[in-house]
Amino acid sequence: MHFPWLSAAILFPIAAALLIPLVPDDGDGRKVRWYALGVALLTFLITVGGYLNGYDPAIEGLQLAERYTWLPDLGLAWSVGADGLSMPLILLTSFITALAALAAWPVSFKPKLFFFLLLAMDGGQIAVFAVQDMMLFFLAWELELVPVYLLLAIWGAKKRQYAATKFILYTAGGSVFILLAALAMGFYGGGAPTFEFSELMAKDFPQKFQLLCYAGLLIAFGVKLPIVPLHTWLPDAHGEATAPVHMLLAGILLKMGGYALLRFNVQLLPAAHVQFAPLLVVLGVVNIIYAALTSFAQRNLKRKIAYSSISHMGFVLIGIGSFSALGTSGAMLQMVSHGLIGASLFFLVGATYDRTHTLQLDEMGGVGQKMRKMFALWTVCSLASLALPGMSGFVSELMVFVGFATSETYSLSFRIVISILAAVGVILTPIYLLSMLREIFFGKENPELVSHTHLVDAEPREIYVISCLLVPIIGIGLYPRLVTDTYRVSIEALVQREANALAQLSHVPGKVVMRSQSPGLWPAVLQPFSPLKAPSLS
């Protein structure tokens, strides 16, 4: 029996959070924040320890697994483990949370409660990525909502009540589908109910059942990712949240959607995924273009970045739907990459707001003359976000592009149309990000702003936080295999499952006989699937 790394990573921050009331309080939260930072760092070290000691990237299956029976009658068990899909995100979670604790330094309103929630969220989110039981997953998913809700509702800006309520209604509404799907899948086939992923994977669900479950789960996870048009909670939540909460929302929370899509929709329901994948790809493109345009028109800085997150998540969708190892791998990398880049941008938004006291671009201008370091940090992070080579965003988007463009499963015309539309995002992203930089930092100083506020340059703590995020961003950009190698085998196995499902689809007698005919959902005109295996146009 090895050391229970994952259970420790989940329970330690939660237990430590429960001890916060005992931390001697001097009113301004000075001790609490050091305590929270220490706990978050230790949690990060625990996850790193688990990664180094118990995780072998060359192994496809579940590792660091622990299983304790909890409610045997219901088939409920405390079952955690990590494979390639979860390990990078577990590390990302504990890493971003530690930085968020550092970012939360200036929080002076109810610091104890704030850091309590932060740490509780840490454990909850690691649990979401680590649990191997669908009921447990549902619980973790729901539990993690509470801290987010409170962090929004108590520390938010003016419209915080509205934003928090919207967030909880959206997500809770989506969660209903998770519960339904979990129960359906758990009880399917008679016998003792089971919610363990490995056992669910072994079950052979019929096509219609899979489609139904898939649709429900897609709504639930689509809210989280988010997928347009289920996204409207996000700009509101982001518009009201404080910087550290932002970092967690953009850095981790959105990734839960992408992770869950891979884990449940693709892994457990491959037959349905084969039918839904073209839809995912189309939704991905919609995400990219729609959100990029809205971001461009936004005049509020936070909302602008929030929409840019939505736009970037479009690549995750395309990657997941790409039926290629490279594309799926790119989707995974995009999640990690956006986790880092999104967190850094939102941290900078918060730091800027602390100085300018406004988020309206019209009320800024020429800020770069007084805040040069801040300007530099903003520039680097914006360039990372617009997928500049040498940084992680470029690699992940490139992998999605190449993976999708070479995916033989789709017909050529479908691939051409999607690639061209997705590449439009390549033009739109710099337009809104560079316009934003220009309006904040370039040009003459805005006399009104300068007269009202005291613009001090970035302090060492802020530079440190951004540097911590930039090291992996640039590291991945220079040598992506640093990350991709940790999940490569799992993704390949996943794509193999997709391929098997595809093959099965084309062999079911009386149903769709050839891949040349569009399977089920798709009218023959659109026909996303390729008629031939080899590329051919003539």
Partner: protein, 671 residues
């Protein structure tokens, strides 16, 4: 002892390390590092210098006949896919490496003088080193993918450097425009690259070339698709090398400091497009239709650039349009299937255009003493004149540059331009005619620049004209005075210091001599790049063929110069009355840069803004509206909600939390 070729990866890495060091220093210890001007400059110049030494060693090896080498490693992989990175050294790369490091080094020395009074001195040098590193990386890239990586990075450096004076609105807009227009080109490059990878399974130039041909020959790929992919890739070079209609960013990019205009926007980065087309020759060569498109785009560009340059009043803008035009010549050569000729013009042009730009920088620097730090005044030729008496070195080198670019033998421009025109004459006579006429325009506008700037009498103290120019630019006099930093005390300009004069003199040497390496009967340049082509050229060279063509181009250049002499030196001709007065439409057409900026603004800038605004409206009113309506309908009727909305958040959370706990308990008890 490893050969220089094996150490080629150090060439981009050395400046990068220097840039990282000073960049991190700037972020971490801003004040201290900003004070360490000379040490930082020396460090970075040493880095680039070391890269230059290595580059020349490499060039020597290639001259001695070393075989090209390529080293690769797996950069990203998934499934059966491997994306490879690495470096490659061959003759073409070696020439470019030597060229870029030389000019980068000279520009850095020059910048020490030019930026001496600037607050951002250290930042400027850091960007310069970063740019050098990216540009050198681009040159040694072994495949399209890696080219794309560095392609974007040089674009980023260009963005940073054009926007260097970020308190100026003009610089801010120009930087963004440069980046976005280049992204439009990259859009095509990316798609074309993906398509070629789909069709051939490779990013390597030769592999793509051979497999694409096989695929077309074997019938698995139609000719049309192959051509389309080639043209998509060509969009990248079109944007980077400022080819019509994606040239619009380059003249605006002159908002950056002048050393940058010389290095990035004249000699190196803008030539990267031409370089990439040369690299892609194995891909493009089998498709004559692609070649025709390249040649036609090049020709349109060369005519456009020269015609707009005719009417420019801003010294740097005049040179910028001249660069556009010269890049058109290079592209024309590529389209004629003569990459060697195009590359040769790239090299000669890099030297003389860098010198011309640095010369213009020297002029602007000197003018700032008189009119203050206001680009509207310091760069306008209406305020210059007679500068030769004050700054002889600048004037003489500028004159040499003008002669070279006009194509007067035996200076560099003659040999390279003549070779392109010769190739065009054989491939596309119509395009040759356009190129020939443009050669006349070139010598006219270059000598116009020279005479207006350096001859006649100095007009810089004409305050009425100054006020008029400022008003035309929409700036008040007071504002300009603020920017003047009380600098405008001298009543006439002075020659620049040695740091600025030395690079001019050094660059004058290749401007005069380097053309002799590429004489058509014994082209050492061609022998290095393509020995077979060189032998072919030498074999087929005949004076009776060469002399009429060369004679024609020299004659038309001389005609252009004569016209400029008559109009701007002797003032015998008033072109304003003669041409502009008689053909106001033509004059307006040229002065408004063929109206392309206006069209861009209307169509794309305003259009995209409007579209974005509409999408946002849909998002906030329709999509979000439905959500809010649903929320209202389902929950709004309940009295409880009132309590939630006004009540304490904790209470609501408690309910949610309680609900979850209850759920767990429920399962526990009833399970």
């Amino acid at each position: 002892m490893p050969s220089a070729s094996e150490l080629a990866w150090l060439i981009p890495v050395l400046p990068l390390m220097g840039a990282c060091l000073s960049g991190l220093g700037l972020i971490a210890f801003n004040r201290t590092v900003n004070r360490l001007r000379k040490p930082v400059a020396v460090l970075l110049i040493t880095c680039v210098g070391a890269a230059a030494v290595l580059s020349y060693a490499l060039l020597a090896e290639q001259l001695a006949g070393a075989a090209p080498i390529e080293m690769l490693f797996n950069w990203a992989s998934a499934g059966s896919f491997n994306l490879q990175m690495g470096f490659r050294v061959d003759a073409l790369g070696a020439v470019m490496l030597a060229l870029v490091t030389t000019i980068a080094l000279l520009v850095m020395v020059y910048s020490d003088g030019y930026m001496a009074h600037d607050k951002g001195y250290v930042r400027f040098f850091t960007y310069l080193a970063l740019f050098s590193s990216s540009m050198l990386g681009l040159i040694i890239s072994p495949n399209l993918l890696e080219i794309y990586v560095f392609w974007e990075l040089v674009g980023m450096c260009s963005y940073l450097l054009v926007g260097f004076w970020y308190d100026r609105d003009g610089a801010a807009n120009a930087a963004q425009k440069a980046f976005v227009v280049n992204r439009v080109g990259d859009f095509g490059l990316l798609l074309g690259m993906l398509g070629l990878f789909w069709a051939t399974g490779s990013f390597g130039f030769e592999t793509i070339g051979s497999r694409l041909q096989e695929a077309v020959a074997g019938g698995s790929l139609s000719n049309g698709v192959a051509i389309l992919l080639c043209l998509l890739v060509f969009m990248g070079p079109m944007a980077k090398s400022a080819q019509f209609p994606l040239h619009v960013w380059l003249p605006d990019a002159m908002e950056g400091p002048t050393p940058i205009s010389a290095l990035i926007h004249a000699a190196t980065m803008v030539a990267a497009g031409v370089f990439l087309v040369a690299r892609l020759q194995p891909v493009y060569a089998p498709f004559p239709q692609v070649q025709v498109v390249i040649a036609v785009v090049g020709t349109i560009t060369l005519v456009l650039g020269a015609s707009i340059a005719l009417t420019q009043q801003d010294l740097k803008k005049g040179l910028a349009y001249s660069t556009v035009s010269q890049l058109g010549y290079m592209m024309l050569a590529m389209g004629c299937g003569a990459p060697v000729a195009g590359m040769f013009h790239l090299v000669t042009h890099a030297f003389f255009k860098a010198m011309l730009f640095l010369g213009s920088g020297s002029v602007i620097h000197a003018m700032e003493e008189v009119v203050g730090h206001e680009p509207v005044l310091a760069q306008d030729m209406r305020l210059m004149g007679g500068l030769r008496q004050f700054m002889p070195i600048t004037a003489i080198t500028f004159l040499i540059g003008c002669i070279a670019i006009s194509g007067i033998p035996p200076l560099a421009g003659f040999w390279s331009k003549d070779e392109i025109l010769g190739q065009a004459f054989n491939s596309f006579p119509v395009l040759w005619a356009a190129g020939l006429i443009t050669a006349g325009m070139t010598s006219f506008y270059m000598f116009r620049l020279y005479f207006l700037t350096f001859e006649g009498s100095f007009r810089g103290n004409d305050t009425a004209l100054q006020a008029q120019l400022l008003a035309a630019a929409g700036k008040s006099g007071g504002e300009a005075q603020d920017q003047g930093h009380g600098h405008s005390d001298a009543d006439h300009p002075h020659e620049s210091g040695w740091q600025m004069a030395m690079p001019l003199v050094v660059l004058a040497v290749p401007t005069v001599l380097i053309g002799l390496l590429g004489t058509p009967w014994n082209s050492r340049f061609a022998r290095l790049l393509d020995p077979r082509e060189a032998a072919h050229m030498a074999e087929h060279f005949s004076w009776p063929e060469f002399l009429p063509l060369a004679g024609a181009s020299v004659a038309i250049s001389v005609a252009g110069i004569t016209l400029a002499v008559l109009a701007y030196l002797l003032h015998r001709l008033d072109l304003g009355k003669l041409v502009a007065g008689r053909f106001p439409a033509l004059n307006a057409f040229l002065a408004n840069k063929w109206y392309l900026d206006a069209i861009n603004d209307k169509l794309f800038v305003q259009g995209s803004r409007k579209l974005a605004k509409q999408v946002l409206d849909v998002d906030s009113k329709v999509v979000d509206g439905v959500v809010n309506l649903t929320g209202l309908l389902t929950l709004g009727s309940g009295e409880g909600l009132k309590y939630f909305e006004t009540g304490r958040a904790q209470f609501y959370a408690l309910i949610v939390f309680g609900g979850v706990v209850a759920l767990v308990v429920l399962f526990g008890v009833f399970g």
